[in-house]
Symmetry: C2
Subunit: 337 residues, 2 copies
Amino acid sequence: MKRWIWFAFCGCVLGSSVAASGQKFGYLGDFPLENGQVIRDCRVGYRTFGRPNADTSNAVLFPTWFGGRSRDLRFHVRPGGLIDSSRYFIIAADALGNGVSSSPSNSKMQPGRNFPEFTIRDMVRSQYRLLTEILGIRHLYAVIGGSMGGMQIFRWIVDYPDFMDFAISYVGSPRLASPDILLWTIELRAIELASRTGGGPDTALPVISLLQSLLIRTPNWLASHIPRERVQDFITRSDSTYGQLFHPWNWAAQIRAMLSHDVSLPYGSLESAARRVRAKVLVIVSATDHIVNPEPALKFARMIGAKTLVLENECGHLAVGCEMARVSRAIATFLKE
Amino acid sequence: MKRWIWFAFCGCVLGSSVAASGQKFGYLGDFPLENGQVIRDCRVGYRTFGRPNADTSNAVLFPTWFGGRSRDLRFHVRPGGLIDSSRYFIIAADALGNGVSSSPSNSKMQPGRNFPEFTIRDMVRSQYRLLTEILGIRHLYAVIGGSMGGMQIFRWIVDYPDFMDFAISYVGSPRLASPDILLWTIELRAIELASRTGGGPDTALPVISLLQSLLIRTPNWLASHIPRERVQDFITRSDSTYGQLFHPWNWAAQIRAMLSHDVSLPYGSLESAARRVRAKVLVIVSATDHIVNPEPALKFARMIGAKTLVLENECGHLAVGCEMARVSRAIATFLKE
């Protein structure tokens, strides 16, 4: 079985030997959230790739996908990847709740279920504060992100419209379509069910690992790449892979952030939100995506006059990984406009 | 929200006012299974629709889908449905484990987890014995079934090749593809997880109901038919609908039967099994099916020279219901050949 089918969201590879730049943290103190609650002693993880030019006008923000960490982005920030760190100064930002930035799994004062509920908007504001207050960056050349990272991109261009020249969302969404809401509700229900067993919420892993592995590609991809005789091996590897990613309350917290994500809020409507956008935007979606339905992204792209790239391969949510050369070229061309 | 989106597998409607013919049972005594175990006091439920002609040469067997009951078939056995009971004498047979025929839920001597593990092959043999020993039928004009019923059809034409002239499988499979195996493994894992809570295995329902509702149609169908604002209503209805269908050990028993289903057994290979087939066969599949992948059925259809009808609408596993007039005509034409 090829290693690349074990990519988790949008292409992170576990345990690779490729060196990553060092993990850094920005400390925001007590961080107030949209809902009025506060993350105590909030920290935002990040790594940088490439070098800033003289006026830091080549800075690009790249937030993480669901369950992803800034270290997972190192495969995407080089020639032939999504964006080239020999040209751009890339700040890979750990999204709240990913186990690196402040999260249910690492909070001393608000651990586990006691961690306050945050939103995609809170993630983005934590990154804005990291950039402006800690890194001294007042403007970005671009923002780029995939999946839940792409959701953060839609939020970035609406909430901070003058902060970037370019924005790229791949397999992201301005707000979830109904199938996506069902998927994440199933996972929340599995965690809730598991939390009622003696083993605790971790015991949701066997359900969640297979659900992710079933839906992250398409049924046709699985049917043609995983023969019946190899399914048990596939299941074992899926459990192992997601076992390394899965923390039930981190998982639940980021899921809730995706479920509440809606860039029309607080602006009244998608149209009002769309009118705020100033950046040049490229929206990349997968027509076969079973995790982030492409329709809301395409609808918002039409509203803001964004360029779009619709991938139509059988790789589902991982479509970008199956056409990386094409996507890499499209992004490079877009960023030079 | 339209009532028809609440069709469960292949189109059963709960609580309809349409009259069904009466429930009958065939009693087989102690019924030996493939694995050497025995279902004690085995009964097979059935209903008949239409009238036999003088020599009963118009008899058609219609076994139930996963979780389905013979009463659910009444909508499909009339003009404009799948098969017309004004022309054919239809015996709708309750598959083992469906809560009507002998099942974990109704067995006095082998209740719940103590019910022996049966196979699709056992279901078919129980129906063969019902027909030959109790109803005195030595030959069928046709067999027809959908989803798990279609799996039984593939088993029928291989195990009893001279027993029918025509056979129709819709959204069925001669053995499951890898995505189908993953899906059912998730549901078994949810039941196993739930059985470790104080509430018992019934508490798997919230996970299973949404998983079924997510996968029985396509993401695109859901995105375009269920607006975000209606998702909570959809979830409530899904829980209610599956709450009426779901019994955890019946569910698990029929799932295990599907997982072990493989018409190549005990014949050594699919080719050997295919060479046994004598019936004229029509194989109907859905290209967008996320519950029963169409590839194994199409592959076996090629081996046996079957006619095929590939539906390409967005309705997923319920594709037949979305093109009923077309399918009805195709079946009627096929049966007159």
